[in-house]
């Protein structure tokens, strides 16, 4: 029998529907793969084997009766940020020790409604703060990719590093992820997978552990553009429980995948051509434009003049919102408690012990910029800058641009424990320089694998779209995927 774990989600769906195999077999194959690989990759922080097999059995009954949902019997990995009833939900943090929610997040509930099977919870940067998956309380995720001729461990990117590594190493058919500044697109680019951050408001944030509420958005990581589209259709949808959820019909995203780019205008923002950008990234970008041109798109130079202010403004807005959101972790309602001589002492000791260093740093900076006397100078100013960043994009779209093509990351994956990044937090933050503008403006963005660097490591391109026009992104990303026509599976070492 073929290795079931290597099927795309779309092919697994076909196989289940025409009864070539059962969900119990498919789920069992993934569980064995996880058991074998997880000690090396550390992608899962909790495996829910028994529950997975129960869900698979229920799916098999539905499939046999011809009543299967859109994702019936498909085994998925869930980022540890999504509340899953009765199951480990800790945002990969020590402070949520033992937390098992009494409720289910809307996004995962939508997936179970459509018949998907949960394999377990995926590792991530603590509270989604990081770009390398090294800030997790559960230790770093190791990328399934290694540079040619090297045994050095690389990061899978972050914060959705567990999601990206699990998808790329065939430890789930697809995964949920979240993106506040690039946390879906950067790990997807590092692992040769497809990741989309939909328009803000497309996926409900209800039941997803909050980091920065005006930036957070859930989306999928998958092995192909079509798989990502299938996941998106199930994850999306209006939810009255999230006041920023948008009441808009969810298109059949998969139907848009083969639509092509004929007649589309693709914008190329000159501000994304950064000093010191590696030549191979520049070359890949040009290659991407050539592919889109060859399929009938027009390429147009555009300017997004406030691009360089996006990252600094982000590092005001995101920590400010985080400091407020994370105030709820106080040792009273859930998770860790460290006793003290009085209640304030208990709060301070609990939070000092429960949060990791990166999280504490961001809460501190957020508290500072929101403190008396600084609010206008920092937070309000950053929110004004956000208006300008958004207007840059609006101007480009009004001038006839349908989508924008940029590199996804400034480099390929770097090593675990990279000293440059460890010594200077700002250097780590620069990983998100191409992705963070999209969150600031609330737009959809997709990362699609497009090439490899000199050491055989995956490189991705990013497409940015108009609000709620994810369909164009799927269509254009598919053109890049088809044109690149490369095998982005990692060479197995684990």
């Amino acid at each position: 029998m073929t290795d079931l774990t290597k099927l795309s989600l779309a092919d697994a769906r076909k196989g289940l529907n025409d009864k070539s195999f059962t969900s119990t077999e498919l789920t069992g194959a993934y569980l064995s793969a996880i058991e074998q690989a997880n000690p090396s990759l550390n992608a899962y922080v909790a495996v829910t084997g028994e529950q997975a097999l129960d869900m698979a059995k229920a799916s098999d009954a539905k499939l046999a009766a011809g009543q299967g949902g859109a994702l019936e019997g498909i085994p998925l990995g869930i980022k540890d940020l999504f509340a899953t009833k009765g199951v480990h939900t800790q945002a990969a943090s020590h402070i949520l020790d033992g937390f098992k929610p009494e409720y289910e997040s809307t996004v995962t509930a939508n997936l179970w409604r459509d018949g998907a099977v949960m394999l377990g919870k995926l590792n991530m940067d603590e509270f989604a703060m990081g770009s390398s998956n090294e800030t997790s309380y559960y230790g770093p995720v190791i990328s399934p990719f290694r540079a040619e001729g090297s045994n050095a461990n690389l990061v899978p990117g972050g914060s959705s590093g567990g999601s990206a590594a699990a998808v790329s190493a065939w430890l789930c058919a697809a995964a949920t992820a979240t993106d506040t500044g690039g946390s879906i697109r950067q790990p997807a680019a590092f692992t040769g997978t497809v990741g989309i951050k939909p328009t803000y408001g497309r996926c409900s944030r209800w039941g997803t552990v909050a980091f920065a509420s005006s930036l957070d958005q859930a989306g999928p990581i998958a092995r192909t553009v079509e798989d990502a589209a299938l996941m998106m259709t199930s994850m999306s949808g209006f939810d009255p429980k999230d006041s920023t959820s948008v009441d808009l019909a969810v298109p059949d995203f998969a139907a848009a995948v083969e639509r092509g780019v004929k007649g589309l205008t693709i914008g190329v923002p000159r501000e994304y051509r950064m000093d010191g950008m590696p030549a191979e990234i520049e070359k890949l970008w040009q290659q991407g434009l050539d592919w889109l041109r060859a399929e009938g798109a027009t390429v147009k130079d555009i300017s997004l003049p406030h691009t360089k202010y996006a990252l600094p403004a982000y590092y005001i807005v995101a920590p400010a919102e985080a400091s407020s959101n994370l105030a709820r972790y106080d040792g009273v309602k859930f998770g860790l408690r460290v006793s003290g001589k009085d209640i304030t002492d208990m709060y301070e000791l609990t939070r000092a012990a429960g949060f990791g260093r990166e999280v504490k740093r961001r809460i501190m900076i957020g508290t500072y910029v929101l403190s008396a006397g600084y609010f206008d100078a920092y937070y309000v100013k950053a929110q004004k800058v956000r208006t300008l960043i958004k207007k840059d994009f609006e101007d480009a779209f009004h001038a006839g641009v349908d989508a924008i093509l940029t590199p996804a990351t400034p480099s390929a994956a770097f090593g675990i424990g990279d000293e440059d990044m460890a010594s200077d937090p700002v250097k780590m933050y620069l990983n998100d320089v191409f992705t963070v503008t999209v969150n600031m403006a609330g737009l959809p963005g997709i990362a699609v694998p497009a090439g490899k660097d000199g050491q055989g490591l995956p490189l991705g391109l990013q497409l940015i779209g108009k609000p709620f026009d994810e369909e164009t992104l799927f269509a254009a990303a598919r053109v890049i995927e088809k044109s690149a026509n490369l095998d982005f599976s990692p060479k197995r070492w684990w």
Binding site: P101, G201, D342, E348
Partner: protein
């Protein structure tokens, strides 16, 4: 703008995160590095620009002012480190 050691302690207090004396210097460096990075924003003119308050142009929905959920205190306290009779237990606050 740069933060000094006393400010680090004060921010830690506001954030309810205990900062030990041995940690102050490292936090001070890191916070100043971040503040230095965001300093670039001073060069941009935002006169007359409205701060972004809503990511997508939408008016916040309202719903009927009625109770739609609740009535399960045992679930609310189920994850509490310490609870009794469906109450969260905390150290004595009022003397």
């Amino acid at each position: 703008m740069s933060v000094d050691a006393a400010t680090v302690k004060r921010i830690g207090r506001l954030a309810r995160i205990r900062i030990e004396d041995s940690e102050v210097a490292a936090y001070q460096d890191e916070l100043n590095a971040m503040l230095g990075f965001v300093e670039q924003l001073t060069s941009i003119n935002v006169d007359g620009v409205e701060p972004m308050t809503s990511v997508t142009p939408m008016t916040l929905r309202r719903r009927d002012d009625v109770v739609t959920d609740g009535g399960y205190p045992e679930k609310i306290v189920a994850n509490a480190p310490l609870s009794e009779d469906n109450f969260f237990m905390v150290p004595k606050v009022i003397e």
